[in-house]
């Protein structure tokens, strides 16, 4: 029996996004943002939106496939999928779920999307006043642990402690994102460069994280269209083929009250090996990486767990120069990412990874054949994925 795999079975035919806004500043409703991004992806692919027959998303996206299908007048809905889990951990998982549906014939043209208009709903980074807390929240909120930064800072603090990580390592990740945003006109932080001095002087959000270690909160929507590999050459742009996708987390990662046995991880210790195994690749084969920045410490651990350097080498490896396109050893977050392009809950990272395969990034890495995305460190489940050019098949 041949190995069961998604490698080379599907490709991205189109990508699309709305303009990106600061949180609360979207001029239209969240549902309309979702529609706009989906239509932009269809336009990019050069297809009639009526070809769409499925949707996949994550993090309890509010814009349900049945409403989208009705609004878009789709002849038939064949696949609707929500990946469990909060944060951006489901970004690559949603891509994998869509790919699996297309690869096995459940659907033929699946949209992966995420839409957010935080001004119309509750913000991620603020807690509602008063109220009661039950379950896991009862063991956190009364102690002032409510926001994602507060929830995950202690995982990073333990990692920094165990491995003697210098503040410059986290700083390099922030500087690389802001550097790349300066050449990207879509980026919310375009025209707002960050210096090492400004980083060092920025206020603490929660130690060990300063303001610039934390993602923005934004409004907008993003979408990608997944099609069978055999149709991939029929569209307007050079196809990006999926080489691998993996999701999950290690042993008892979700144990309540911060009782994950492997606490000082970004949750990828079992997921990353699974990804490389499916793709048939090693870390040295990866040309460019988009790694979800909820917080810089999470990126640091993600890169270690995906084998780009060891924890012992992190201080030496994590310099701005090593992370910058086009010449860095490991160009990272080349659109500006969650820190400086847009916190489109990480799905802008998948779009950027496709642009790198097409040769269309505003911070293009020359001769890119293998382009990785890492989604949502420290939450569970997390996920990651690899795109490749036709030459990698």
């Amino acid at each position: 029996m041949s190995k069961r795999t998604l490698r080379g079975k599907v490709a991205i035919a189109g990508v699309g996004e709305t303009p990106y806004y600061k949180h609360g500043k979207a001029p239209v409703s969240e549902f309309k943002l979702a529609l706009q991004a989906i239509l932009a992806a269809c336009e990019d692919a050069g297809i009639d939106p009526r070809r769409i027959d499925g949707f996949a998303s994550y993090s309890n996206d509010r814009n349900e496939p049945s409403r989208l299908a009705a609004a878009l007048g789709l002849p038939a809905l064949r696949f609707s999928n929500m990946n469990w889990g909060g944060g951006g951990g489901g970004g690559s998982a949603a891509m994998g779920n869509a790919a699996a549906a297309v690869a096995c014939g459940m659907a033929n043209c699946v949209v992966v999307f995420r839409a957010l208009a935080q001004g119309q709903f509750q913000r991620f980074g603020a807690a509602p006043p008063g109220g009661v807390a039950a379950g896991e929240a009862a063991l956190n909120a009364p102690y002032g642990v409510m926001s994602p930064a507060q929830r995950y800072a202690m995982r990073a603090m333990r990692f920094l402690h165990e491995n003697n990580i210098a503040p410059s390592a986290q700083r390099a990740i922030a500087l690389a994102s802001y550097h790349h945003a300066q050449s990207n006109p879509r980026a919310v932080m375009h025209g707002r460069p960050l210096t090492a001095e400004a980083y060092d002087q920025s206020r603490w959000i929660v130690e060990p994280w300063r303001l610039f270690d934390c993602c923005q909160e934004n409004d907008g929507a993003a979408a990608l269209i997944v099609v069978p590999a055999e149709e991939a050459r029929d569209f307007k742009h050079k196809p990006a083929y999926l080489l691998g996708s993996a999701q999950g987390s290690e042993y008892r990662n979700g144990a309540r009250s911060h009782n994950a046995p492997l606490y000082a991880t970004s949750s990828f210790t079992t997921v990353a090996p699974q990804l490389y195994d499916m793709a048939g690749l090693k870390p040295k084969d990866v040309d460019v990486v988009q790694s979800y920045e909820n917080f810089t410490g999470g990126v640091l651990m993600s890169l270690v767990e995906h084998g780009f350097f060891t924890a012992e080498d992190a201080n030496d490896f994590l310099t701005p120069e090593n992370l910058m396109a086009p010449t860095g050893k490991l160009p990272l977050n080349t659109s500006g990412g969650n820190l400086a392009e847009c916190y489109m809950h990480g799905l802008e990272l998948q779009i950027e990874a496709v642009r790198q395969i097409r040769g269309a990034s505003t911070a293009q890495v020359p001769e890119t054949d293998v382009s990785m995305v890492i989604s949502g460190p420290m939450v569970t489940p997390v996920s990651s994925m690899i795109f490749g050019t036709e030459a990698t098949l």
């Binding site: 039950a134 603090m157 333990r158 130690e207 144990a255 911060h258």
Partner: protein
């Protein structure tokens, strides 16, 4: 006197009663964690089954309250209206060597700007909130 101002979310037991023995015990000044009757494994946070041997016969076990700081953080940015203008505070993750090194969360009492050392020994103290509706008691930590 509580470490953090009043007005933060009030902890209540889950609807299914899973953690009710823990919250009831804190009102009596006792610290409980779960322990499997069959295999003796300690477990925290609470769950309906022992993760080690899969027995449903999970009991509650009183612990001494001796702990060791495993990790920590110092929030500065207030994300809740009750914390506006309050300033920084310290959250510690404490492992309990007497209970299989399960971890519990709390605030580290004392100066909120003090240096915190991973590995430092701490002791549980009970912080009653008798005027809250419903009343509850938090487990906090002080340097031993």
């Amino acid at each position: 006197m509580s470490y953090l101002p009043s007005g933060l979310p009030i902890p209540v037991p889950e609807n299914d009663g899973l953690d009710k023995p823990y919250w009831d015990a804190t009102r009596r000044g006792e610290l409980l964690v779960q322990r499997c009757k069959k295999c003796g494994t300690f477990q925290w946070g609470p769950e309906w089954i022992c993760h080690k041997c899969l027995s449903f016969d999970v009991d509650w076990h009183k612990v001494s309250g001796k702990g060791r700081i495993y990790s920590w953080e110092r929030p500065w940015h207030p994300v809740h209206p009750a914390l506006k203008d309050h300033g920084p505070y310290i959250v510690v993750l404490v492992e309990l060597p007497d209970a299989g090194n399960v971890r519990m969360l709390g605030n580290l009492l004392g100066n909120p700007k003090q240096e915190v050392h991973i590995g430092a020994e701490v002791q549980a103290v009970f912080e009653p909130h008798d005027d809250a509706k419903p009343p509850f008691t938090l487990v906090q930590w002080k340097l031993a």
